[in-house]
């Protein structure tokens, strides 16, 4: 008989145990496959949607345009570029565009937007934006001064189809161009950058508006296969020569790339922990399945089986089970992923959490991939085999006689007389407790399995909690504070005539409130910042330096120069990214134009006194800070302020303080909003984090339940005869259930306790030392405070409930073996070897 045959029969002989082992391997693999497919699906969707809606896969510009888009850098020879692209088979379609920045206004509301002129005929083959129109109609080539705007922009401007928008921009020749465009349609892509900040007009209309008779700033392409992006871009680069730059979607859509990266980091962290959990489960099961057979292996040895052959048999057995688990797990994993890949997983309940990922809709389509499935399968198989090495070596070294008598005789210890159990309830507990100690190896394995699982999820939950907590702390620290009092509608319109009267009185009242740590008045408005070289749309913040220092920590991000001095009305602080864009340095002048409260245009010049840099280039490229007095005079606010920022002593009280302030503040006609409203991205990350945590926990529960089922079932099967005796001498079935359940409760509670202790110790360690992931997403964050060094943080509210549920799941899993024990037929059980 071959090894495989022997191993196969061993597997078949104890079908139940084999099934559990198989199930444990298969479910682990299936969970891993599904998880990875989910991550891939989400990423794929994100990239696909964002490239599809507007950017395309590859763009050609004049050299230098991507980093410094200006009308000076139009494509030198559009026709030849289009011709070159047209000859490539890997490009499905290409469309020229003329892009620029513009200020769009309706009535008193205005907004700085990205203006793109497109050729509707060819654009449709490259991007889907023209087809995303939900109100009105899409553009056609015959349209004159018509415009499509995003849904969010329409809301912000209060514009609807048919409205005439005033559009102002710097023209090709440097003069100021102004024109009126009518809103022909409103589109919805669910991508904030497009819906909120992009306006589309016919190519001809933009050329006319900007006085650029021909040409384009970019040519966008859709490839037949997005995976060829890098290769196609490289090929085009060499064909087109040094006058042109060819930029792939990875660089075009840095925000998306960052999200993909972020998503991947989170995803891989989850995968890693899941893998540890699955490996612990599989190892436990395989070890157990072999260790329990000591007696039988002893008999094989006694009959003359060579030790090496015995070891091989066990390895082959593990291999067969592993392969079976792979096939089953692969089928289930790929099947479930493919099923949801087709039907989608509706996460609309967490849709706000998903919005942090641009281009992600409420429905995620997992994307199972063959290569990843194979990698995971090999890893799980490797784990299974690795788990079988120890027991097979052990089996080879067994001594037949003691093995046949069972290992117990070797682990005999002269136990001190235990306290006698005093009544029937105590005796069942005593039996359970002593049974746990009786097979220390099995109990330790189970403990280790449950323990490492708990360590895994404690760590990952704390990792995410710490990450989110830090991000919230930093982001509220840099930008918003915890609460903000603002005139109703302020954030939507950011209009200078919306202001808070007599902010000083309100500040005095607020500062008297014991839960408030600091409050400061600020002026906030949209402005145009110009250097000698360029101009950029910015958010202008007017702050009172001493009060502001209590509210935010921006001074800490200062990299060059000095912070604003109190009463200094001549200085401005800018972000490093903006300084680069405007090509200015500390000490140089910056002219700022902003709309006044009375509707006129105010402008003033400031000296750059300092440059700050946070983790977010988007923030660093968009915010400038001047003294509140200077801002008031620029915008014509008198002694009014746009908003009041509030820092609380305890951030978690945000909602309750907000609710307490709301009635008072609303009487004066103002709103009070808390940081989740002010920093929706952060809040959304927080929500997304919850989703991930639920997924991790669901898998943890499954793995623990299987592990417990396996262990306790083995314990029950091994003790069949003994349990039979208990039944024979009159123990009631209900009491038998209790014995098994007590035993489970002891092992599972101990495992959970150990896991928590160890997990929290690890979390505490990294809570102090931090985990440096800055190499993964440094610099490209969309919000300041998205930190690269993560300090884990164990938070009771995320950790207590799972512990309780874990115990419940363990007990639930033990119910089957317990009932089995209760239903044993004593006559048969007594005959059991």
């Amino acid at each position: 008989m071959t090894l495989a045959q022997l191993a196969w029969r061993n597997i078949g002989r104890n079908a139940r145990r084999s099934l559990i082992t198989l199930a444990s391997i298969a479910s682990g693999l299936a969970a891993l496959i599904f998880m990875w497919a989910f991550i891939d699906g989400a990423n794929e969707q994100m990239v696909d949607n964002t490239t599809r809606y507007f950017s395309g896969h590859v763009q050609v510009h004049a050299m230098g345009y991507h980093d410094d888009p200006s009308l000076d850098r139009t494509i030198p020879d559009l026709a030849s570029v289009l011709d070159t692209i047209g000859q490539r088979n890997d490009v499905a379609a290409a469309a020229p565009r003329f892009e620029g920045q513009a200020l769009v206004a309706l009535g008193e509301k205005s907004r700085g937007v990205f203006l793109a002129g497109v050729d509707p005929e060819v654009e449709r083959d490259v991007s889907a934006l023209l087809d995303a129109v939900i109100l009105g109609a899409a553009l056609t080539s015959n349209d004159g001064a018509a415009m499509l705007i995003g849904e969010r922009m329409a809301e912000a401007l209060g514009a609807t189809v048919g409205d005439q928008l005033s559009v102002i921009s710097q023209a090709y020749d440097g003069s100021l161009a102004a024109a009126r465009f009518h809103v022909k349609g409103i589109f919805r892509t669910k991508i904030e950058e497009l819906d909120g900040w992009t306006a589309i007009t016919p190519l001809a209309a933009v050329r006319e508006f900007l006085a650029a008779p021909s040409g384009a700033t970019s040519v966008a392409m859709r490839l037949r296969d997005r995976d060829t992006t890098t290769a196609t871009a490289a090929a085009l680069r060499s064909t087109l020569g040094e006058q042109y730059e060819v930029v792939g979607w990875q660089r075009l859509l840095q925000v998306v790339m960052q999200s993909v990266r972020f998503h991947e980091v989170l995803g891989y962290a989850v995968l890693l922990v899941l893998f540890v959990i699955v490996a612990a489960g599989v190892t436990n099961t395989v070890l157990m399945a072999v260790l329990e057979r000591t007696r039988e292996l002893g008999i094989l040895l006694a009959l003359g089986t060579r030790p090496s052959r015995l070891a091989q048999t066990i390895m082959v057995e593990a291999m067969l089970l592993g392969l079976g688990g792979l096939v089953l797990g692969g089928l289930v994993g790929v099947g479930v992923s493919a099923y949801y890949g087709a039907s989608g997983i509706d996460l609309s309940a967490y849709s706000r959490g998903l919005e942090v990922m641009p281009g992600l809709s409420d429905i995620i389509y997992p994307l199972p991939r063959v290569d990843r499935t194979i990698v995971l399968a090999l890893i799980v198989l490797g784990t299974t085999l690795l788990a079988a090495v120890y027991p097979s070596l052990r089996a080879a070294r067994l001594e037949p006689v003691s093995a046949i008598r069972g290992w117990e005789s070797r682990t005999l210890r002269s136990s001190a007389p235990a306290r006698e159990a005093r009544n029937a309830r105590h005796i069942f507990f005593a039996i359970a407790a002593r049974n746990v100690l009786r097979n220390p190896r099995r109990s330790l394995l189970t403990l280790a399995g449950i323990g490492s699982t708990v360590v895994g999820f404690v760590f990952i939950l704390s990792f995410f909690d710490g990450f989110i907590d830090q991000t919230i702390e930093n982001a509220t620290g840099y930008v918003t504070g915890h609460l903000q009092i603002e005139p109703a509608g302020f954030r939507r319109e950011m209009s200078p005539d919306l202001a808070i009267e007599a902010p000083e009185r309100m500040l005095t009242e607020l500062r008297a409130e014991p839960r408030i740590a600091a409050a400061a008045a600020r002026v906030q408005t949209q402005a145009l910042a110009s250097s000698a070289a360029k101009q950029e749309m910015v958010v202008l913040m007017g702050v009172d330096p001493p009060a502001e220092a209590q509210l935010t920590i921006l001074d800490r991000a200062l990299r060059e120069g000095a912070p604003l001095a109190p009463g200094d009305d001549r200085s401005v602080i800018v972000g490093r990214k903006l300084a680069e864009k405007l090509r200015v340095r500390v000490g140089e002048r910056l002219v700022v134009h902003a709309q006044s409260a009375d509707g006129s245009l105010g402008s003033a010049a400031y000296r750059i006194s300092g440059i700050f840099a946070t983790e977010s280039e988007a923030f660093d490229g968009r915010y400038i800070y001047i003294g509140i007095g200077a801002a008031r005079s620029l915008v014509g606010l008198g002694d009014r302020a746009s908003i009041i920022g509030i820092r609380l002593k305890d951030r978690r009280a945000s909602e309750s303080v907000r609710a307490a302030l709301a009635p008072v503040v609303s009487r004066a006609g103002y709103d009070v909003v808390s940081w989740p409203t002010l920093l929706p991205q952060v809040d959304e990350m927080d929500r997304l984090n919850r989703v991930i945590e639920y997924i991790v926990l669901a898998i943890v529960f499954g793995v623990v339940a299987l592990g417990v089922l396996n262990t306790i079932l083995m314990a029950v099967m091994e003790r069949t005869r003994e349990l039979g005796v208990m039944i024979a001498i009159g123990t009631r079935p209900g009491a038998m259930v209790r014995v098994v359940m007590y035993e489970t409760a002891i092992v599972v509670s101990a495992g959970i306790a150990i896991g928590y202790l160890l997990g929290i110790a690890i979390v505490e360690y990294f809570g102090v030392h931090g985990i440096d992931l800055s190499f993964l997403f440094g610099g490209v964050a969309t919000i300041p405070g998205l930190t690269g060094v993560i300090y884990t943080r164990a938070s009771p509210q995320t950790l207590v409930v799972p512990a309780t549920m874990l115990l419940a799941f363990g007990l639930l899993a033990a119910l089957y073996p317990a009932l089995r024990a209760a239903r044993l037929d004593p006559a048969q059980a007594l005959r059991h070897a």
Partner: protein, 235 residues
């Protein structure tokens, strides 16, 4: 015969047991009529497969007859639920097994006390009786040892103590001496005989051991699931 005379500890009426194994059915017990009076000291004898253990399982309410009827202490076992049968075993029957079968995680004293715990006997009473019983069986000083720390003969005496201490209607012993050397086996039998004579405990053995048969006062011989001889001897 619906109301068996209570003087019988066990009564069977055409008791049969058929085991179904795959396609073949094995008739392990074939229409056995047997009366076991209180105070009996009886051995069931026969070759392997003769039905001794099957009969013992039925009498011990561990199993149910496929046909025929069976009473233990006047209660019919036939249609009882698992829980009811557990109750019968708890209150009326003591077991001694070939392989001792003590609960390995309980001490000698706890093993003896176990049945009384299930019965709800008060702790002091229970401990007093268990200690007395262990002492009577020569196990004084070994009360706190676990089964593994006792010799085979000592374990079997603990098993006898456990079977007898709660004063059951009858004690069933399946090959009680099979795993013991002859000296231990002999002294164990003498002990049981003494319990039978002094306290009137009813004992039923299944056995191959001539030493057991020598000491039995009634020998029921079985073959192929039937009783083939029933010998009584003077005390």
């Amino acid at each position: 015969m619906n109301k068996p005379a209570p003087s019988f500890a066990v009564l069977t009426e055409q008791a049969s047991k058929t085991y179904q194994a795959d396609d073949t059915s094995v008739r392990a017990l074939d229409g056995v009529d047997l009366q076991i009076e209180r105070g009996a000291f009886m051995a069931l004898v026969g070759p392997s497969g003769s039905g001794k253990t099957t009969l013992l399982n039925l009498v011990g309410a561990l199993d149910m007859p496929s046909a025929g009827r069976l009473w233990v202490d006047g209660k019919e076992i036939g249609a009882m639920s698992a829980t009811r049968r557990a109750e019968i075993r708890l209150r009326k029957i003591g077991f001694v097994f070939q392989e001792y079968n003590l609960i390995p995680v309980l001490s000698a004293l706890e093993n003896v006390e176990y049945v009384m715990m299930l019965q709800g006997v008060a702790p002091e009473e229970r401990t007093r009786r268990s200690r007395a019983m262990l002492a009577a069986l020569g196990l004084e000083g070994l009360e706190h040892r676990r089964p593994r720390q006792l010799s085979g003969g000592q374990q079997q005496r603990v098993a006898v103590a456990r079977a007898v201490v709660a004063q059951p209607v009858l004690v069933l012993a399946d090959e009680p001496t099979a795993n013991l050397d002859s000296a231990s086996g002999g002294s164990l039998m003498d002990l049981m005989r003494a319990l039978n004579e002094r306290h009137g405990v009813t004992f039923v053995f299944s056995t191959h051991d001539p030493m057991v048969m020598e000491r039995a006062r009634r020998i029921v011989r079985m073959r192929d699931g039937r009783i083939v001889a029933d010998e009584r001897r003077p005390a």
